[in-house]
């Protein structure tokens, strides 16, 4: 058992990088020995309990150039240093990106959300990260930068396992990009916790397009049911191109529940997760459909 001692157990050097260039240089210089500090709401907890050590801590939250949210009607670009609270308060997000809005709204308490960043939520690599399922269903891409250059990675390929991502040790997440989602879209996010503002026992996001009475494109993603947040393509296929109905929703949700293999941990049990995955997915599909202007 790890004990949180109030004290950061290991010695490290603290570096503040006010520009992206400096941050990337530092990361390259101390390659492998440095950790990035954004809001610190995940990192510091791990450092206090001795789960994580590093020789250098690079504080990047002050890089103004990475703190933005720009939407041009069709796409949305998010700077990773933006606080969860700023995302929650953004009118554009609230109006058009319901799943992301609902995810951020469900997270932590205001004080934590003022500190925490969306970049940190992703790079921390938790299977329960609440912003991951929305970004998965929006088909978001991530820009990973280093002095070697930039690369673009779909969110789907970003997560590798618990606390593991494809980020190289000299790379920084520098942008989250949501593509054009097309017309008549609706999205939703649902989560079950133990108390309000808790880490998810299970969460789910749905995003779909409506063409008349039928489902056009559709994505479904769960968190906290596998080593990483995951999409369920089989369930998506059941919905795609089909005329929407209650039976169809039940069929897709049932299929999804049969495909996930959650574990039992401190927050819940595998059988409960399996059981309620159906329930929240049904609900998620319904509200996404309604938001896309569909009727049931």
């Amino acid at each position: 058992m790890k004990t949180n001692t109030k004290i950061l157990a290991s010695e490290f050097e603290y570096l503040e990088c006010p520009t992206l260039a400096e941050a990337l240089n530092c990361l390259s210089k101390y390659n492998g020995k440095a950790k990035i500090l954004a809001g610190g709401t995940d990192l510091l907890i791990k450092m206090k309990s001795g789960l994580l050590q590093c020789q250098y801590l690079i504080f990047v939250k002050k890089i103004e150039a990475l703190n933005y949210l720009i939407s041009d009607k069709k796409t949305l670009r998010i700077g990773p240093m933006i606080s969860l609270r700023s995302i929650e308060k953004n009118e554009q997000v609230k109006a058009y990106y319901s799943a992301l809005f609902e995810a951020v709204r469900s997270m932590a308490a205001t004080s934590v959300k003022n500190m925490a960043t969306i970049g940190g939520n992703l790079c921390n690599g938790s299977p329960a990260a609440d912003t991951a399922p929305p970004l998965l269903v929006y088909g978001a891409t991530l820009k990973l930068s280093s002095i070697r250059g930039d690369r673009i990675v779909p969110v789907e390929e970003f997560f590798v396992g618990p606390s593991q991502t494809v980020l190289e040790s000299d790379e920084l997440l520098t942008e989250i990009c949501l593509p054009d989602l097309g017309d008549q879209i609706g999205s939703s996010f649902l989560k079950l916790g133990r108390v309000s503002a808790d880490i998810a026992k299970i969460n789910v996001a749905v995003c779909l397009n409506r063409t008349g009475k039928s489902v056009g494109n559709c994505r479904i993603a769960f968190g906290s049911v596998a080593p990483t947040p995951i999409r369920i393509p089989e369930a998506e296929e059941i919905l795609k191109g089909q005329e929407m109905s209650d039976e169809l929703i039940v069929k897709a949700a049932k299929a999804a529940a049969g495909l996930i293999k959650p574990i039992t941990d401190k927050r819940s049990t595998n059988s409960y997760r399996q059981q309620v995955s159906k329930v929240i997915l049904e609900e998620g599909i319904r509200s996404a459909w309604q938001r896309a202007g569909g009727e049931l």
Binding site: T3, V195, Y272
Partner: protein
């Protein structure tokens, strides 16, 4: 009786400084040259310490002391846990400062370090080499009672205590019963999770007195600390700070002995503050209980017999287990008239965290069980929850199962009716998979200590020449307004505004000892002592004023800092004028008064009979819950509570106590699960141990009944601990009402509820 200050919901005098964050809690205080302490804790729940080598730690630069059990002058005490009366061996237990030989629980303190910084102290901990031999241990109280069980301590049994109640003949009575309900209930450990973890600073003053400034519910532990060091009692001084929550978790010694030892050894001031995780490891828990209940009734719904067996897990040390068990025993039948009762209770040592005081002190666990039983009986007999309670509840003039009389007022009927009726007409279910349900529960609990503990409290009031008032009381204020209540009483009696009264609290050398802030005793005990002291000084002022005004003593009243002739209100003297005259004449301008609770003898047999408590508080909770049938999630939509508080000295604070007790019990019922597996903690931080947040609790509606029949000042009863009764079973009964499943083990998680519903459908 007309009152002008008492009975008013005035803000606590400490509220503003607390809201501004300027109060110096225990950890907010430092001294020049201060060292920082850390505690080395056992890695195993059951082990033999083969050796401890402190050489490497001692040689670390910046380390000033490393101490183990060998360095403690009196490491093993037969403790009375803060008592000043002789209570006999059945209510004492071993207090071991640092583990020696056998380690009994995970996190047991083994060694202490004092160093120039917390960081160095922590590094030193890592340099202490302890060689353990792991032992099997025993983690289940039922296993621990078996013949050849692993022995937790050094005795030849793990049994801590056992009690019985025998009334009538249950065997025959069950034969005559039309319905019998039998269930086994269980409740887990509960952590106090106070906002402020254990903390203190100790130093040796210029006279060689070991002084400890600490957050505690019991400053009287100075005596035990002195005995640990082997020095006279008056060489240890404990200064209690404002406490950031106690709930029983700061009733036993926490950091005091460690601080005293380190400051005594180093002659330097020393600070020790636990982290949240360490706090979880270090302090006591509420006792888990397994409770078998068999309740019989006639077809008209009259209770005829109750047979119950309660098993309490004491964890690794005795502490207050015998007392908690006695409370559970006396409260096992609840506030009901049952002609035939058989109660058997045991408390057992295990290698789990040790259990001791937790707000509710043994009354809360059986409350969950007997109120669940009543609900089941009502369902079988097709009675509503109120009717079955009204048919059976105690009334004025009834006796306890021990044969003792209830004094004061027994308002079970009234509180149950008022709480239940306040819920109003039922609403329709809001959505197709959301089901509403309602539940009712009543509860009883004593206030004031066990009468054989011969409790006393003292309070001091002094008049200043300018008419202001100075008070001294040893009372620890836990945040519940303990000090405020005393000030309101003095203000009432002396006709002085609150702002003109200053109270100095919680100092074993300078304030009269008021006893512990535990057992819901302070308003009752110290309130009475304060009332007595105030009336003594008042009497002197009246005597003086009657001479000065040439008025009869009965013709005088105290109001607005004046002593006024009732018959001729334009004839009056300023209070300060009368005080001035007393001073000139050499009259005493102060009083220190002592209040004694009723005394009884220590029980000699394990069959409990007669009086063990001075009086009881009765209350009820009625709740409405909404349950999502598809996920098992519960939301407490409404909660109404009604308690007979005798007299609300400060209604605002009484409501605060009721709301706090309610919220605490929502956690007990639904979310708080202190998981211990084979002695290892699985919920060692607030990320695993889930307290309800502001978003998880409804507004709690409070209804105060003021019977005026309590034995506290102005007829007040105690409310702090009784407030933790009834909410948890009311919620569980409401879940039963909503979705038809009976949850018999707490907490009622969505997982439990959902699968109970699914298996019922199958």
């Amino acid at each position: 009786m007309e009152t002008s200050v008492v009975g008013k919901g005035l803000p606590k005098f400490d509220a503003y400084t607390k809201a501004k964050g300027t109060i110096a809690y225990a950890d907010d205080f430092s001294l020049p040259g201060m060292l920082y302490a850390k505690v080395l804790r056992s890695k195993y729940p059951a082990a033999m310490i083969i050796s401890i080598n402190t050489a490497r730690a001692k040689s670390l630069p910046g380390v000033h002391a490393v101490m183990t059990g060998k360095d403690v002058p009196h490491n093993n005490l037969r403790a009375k846990f803060g008592q000043s009366t002789d209570i006999g061996p059945n209510f004492e237990g071993l207090y071991r400062v640092l583990a020696e030989e056998k380690v009994r629980f995970l996190g047991e303190a083994i060694a202490l370090v004092a160093a120039d910084s917390e960081k160095i102290a922590e590094e030193a901990l890592a340099l202490i080499d302890v060689i353990y031999e792991q032992l099997p241990g025993v983690f289940d109280p039922i296993e621990a009672l078996k013949q050849d069980a692993y022995l937790v301590g050094d005795n030849d049994t793990n049994l801590v205590s056992q009690f019985k109640i025998r009334q009538g003949d249950v065997e025959t009575a069950f034969k005559s019963a039309d319905v019998i309900v039998e269930n086994t209930y269980s409740v887990p450990f509960k952590d106090h999770a106070f906002l402020e973890p254990e903390s203190g600073v100790a130093w040796v003053d210029e006279n060689g007195i070991i002084t400890i400034r600490v957050c505690t519910q019991v400053i009287e532990h100075f005596r035990t600390v002195a005995e640990v060091l082997g020095i006279p009692h008056n060489h240890v001084r404990v200064i209690g700070t404002w406490v950031g929550g106690g709930f029983g978790g700061k009733e036993d010694i926490t950091v005091e002995s460690f601080l005293a030892l380190l400051t005594w050894k180093t002659k330097r001031p020393v600070k020790l503050t636990y982290t949240r995780e360490e706090s979880f490891l270090a302090h006591s828990k509420r006792h888990p209980f397994v409770m078998k209940y068999k309740t019989g009734a006639t077809k008209d719904g009259l209770l005829v017999a109750l047979e119950t067996e309660l098993i309490a897990d004491s964890g690794a040390y005795t502490y207050l287990s015998p007392w908690v068990l006695l409370y559970a025993t006396v409260n096992a039948a609840g506030p009901y008239n049952i002609p035939n009762v058989k109660v058997d209770t045991v408390a057992v040592l295990t290698n789990n965290p040790f259990s001791s005081a937790y707000r509710g002190f043994g009354a809360v666990q059986p409350n969950f069980a007997y109120e669940s039983q009543m609900d089941e009986l009502a369902r079988i007999l097709d009675l509503d929850p109120l009717t079955i309670r009204l048919k059976n509840c105690l009334q004025q003039g009834d006796t306890l199962t021990t044969g003792a009389d209830f004094g004061g007022s027994v308002a079970v009927r009234e509180v149950a009716e008022k709480a239940w009726q306040a819920l109003g007409p039922k609403r329709a279910d809001p959505g197709k998979h959301i089901k509403l349900g309602r539940g009712l529960a009543v509860g009883m609990m004593s206030y004031g200590r066990l009468t054989f503990l011969h409790d006393t409290s003292r309070s001091y009031i002094k008049l200043e020449l300018d008419g202001s008032v100075l008070m001294r009381s040893g009372i620890p204020d836990l945040g519940a307004g303990q000090a405020q209540a005393l000030v309101q009483i003095a203000a009432e009696e002396l006709g002085v505004p609150l702002e003109k009264i200053k109270i100095f609290t919680s100092d074993t050398s300078l304030t009269p000892l008021a006893g512990t802030s535990t057992a819901t005793r302070q308003l009752y005990m110290s309130g009475n002592a304060t009332l007595k002291a105030a009336r003594e000084v008042k009497e002197r002022l009246i005597n003086k004023a009657s001479v000065m005004l040439k008025a009869d003593k009965t013709d005088l009243k105290f109001e607005n800092e004046k002593i006024i002739r009732i018959s001729e209100p334009d004839k009056y003297l300023a209070l300060s004028t009368v005080i001035g005259q007393c001073s000139t004449d050499g009259d005493e301008l102060y009083s220190e008064a002592q209040f004694n609770a009723p005394f009884t003898e220590v029980p000699v047999s394990d069959v409990i009979t007669g009086q063990t408590f001075a009086d009881f508080t009765f209350g009820a909770y009625a709740v409405e819950v909404a349950i999502d049938e598809e996920t098992g999630e519960v939301n407490v939509e409404r909660a109404v509570t009604c308690y007979d508080v005798g007299k609300a000295i400060n209604p605002l604070n009484v409501e605060g106590q009721l709301e706090g007790g309610g919220v605490d019990s929502i956690g007990y019922a639904l979310t708080e699960n202190f998981v211990v597996e084979q002695g290892y903690l699985k919920s060692h931080s607030l990320a695993e141990y889930l307290l309800p947040t502001a978003l998880d609790v409804p507004d709690i509606e409070t209804i105060l009944v003021e019977s005026g029949a309590g034995i506290g000042p102005y007829g007040a009863k105690g409310i702090g601990e009784p407030a933790c009764n009834a909410m948890a079973p009311a919620i569980i009964n409401a879940i039963r009402d909503a979705v038809g499943v009976r949850i018999t083990s707490l907490p009622a998680t969505p997982e439990k509820i959902l699968f109970a519903m699914l298996s019922r459908i199958k």
